[in-house]
Symmetry: C2
Subunit: 209 residues, 2 copies
């Protein structure tokens, strides 16, 4: 089927286990996927590397990327810019890799608007009670941070319907397989196989007369 990579955007509540899920998926199928790397103007934290966690940019360079149309989407949080460089994503897709962007909702919807074939996946725990339990279970956050995350989740839930697919992260291993199958099934979409369809129409034309 289609040889060009799929663009998949993954969002979900903080505490849904997205990070662990993505790591497990990329480890299990490393030849199949590429994880998009965001550009940002925020300072690198300890252990973060340019080109691995982020492409670290000055605000001036970041603004030049915006103006040159080099970002698929971008947004500003707490005074720092974040964005998805187009080149890397398109290069990986051309090379046949399925590219995953792990970005928040507003960015995800912008990508879908611009590239309607994008697969939008929303990762969620099986229930709100489970989400709260996971946030508390970490044991590292203050009550205020937990309440903030739950409030944010309540706001984010309003956008769940705008995603194409839901992925309930209950059992990590099963969830990795579900995500893999979901993304791989997109290669069978007719819109991803216009070359195959054109060839078929063309070959069959000979029988028309």
């Amino acid at each position: 089927m289609s040889e060009k990579g799929i663009l998949a955007v993954v969002s979900g509540f903080s505490g849904a286990g997205k990070g662990t899920l993505m790591k497990a998926l990329l480890k299990r199928y490393e030849d199949r996927y590429a994880l998009s790397i965001s550009a940002t103007t925020r300072q690198p934290r300890e252990g973060e590397e340019h080109g691995r966690e982020y492409f670290f940019q000055t605000e001036e360079a970041f603004k030049r990327m915006i103006e040159a149309g080099e970002l698929i989407e971008h947004a500003c949080y707490v005074g720092n810019y974040y964005g998805t460089p187009k080149q890397y994503v398109f290069d990986q897709m051309s090379a046949g890799k399925d590219v995953i962007l792990e970005i928040e909702i507003q960015g995800a919807l912008k990508v879908k608007e611009r590239f309607p074939d994008t697969l939008l996946i929303f990762v969620t725990p099986p229930s709100a009670a489970e989400l709260e339990a996971r946030l508390r279970g970490r044991g590292t956050e203050t009550e205020k941070v937990i309440q903030n995350r739950l409030r944010r989740a309540a706001e984010e839930a309003e956008y769940m319907d705008q995603y194409d697919y839901l992925l309930v992260n209950d059992d990590l291993d099963a969830c990795v397989e579900e995500m893999h199958r979901l993304i791989q099934s997109q290669h069978q979409k007719t819109s991803e196989n216009s070359g195959f369809i054109a060839d078929m129409k063309n070959e069959l034309k000979n029988y028309k007369n």
Copy 2:
């Protein structure tokens, strides 16, 4: 995920191996699927049973079904009516079965228009040459019949783009699994999980204040 069944419509060229594929799918996952049974006004052939191959109806009874809105779609071929009874399909879906309609293209597009959540799958051999080889390989058809089928395939190919997914039937066993995965993945669509999403929004509301 969603407990209600999926409605999947399967079409494809004569010679694509749809019949064998459906039989193998239903045999392998008999608890999961129900095959829709069409109503028809044509005479039963030897070995055909009312309620198994078709619901055999008089023309009068068939027209009453049309008028009463009891058919999802219907069409007339070579003087005989064919149609899909709504009741059976909806009953099976409510019982949690994924229902498969194996119907031709015009009917498929009508179903999609009326029920946009319907999954349209087009089954095709890997190439036109392979289609021709399979039609000839049967060894039971006259040259005229083979040419007619190829001409019809050429016309049908014009509608391939209007299907959601393509299924290339190269290896039967792999194709059965692909179809199964494709239909099962639809249970994760947000549009199939409005109940889950509503519950999640509702539970999270408590954290908003």
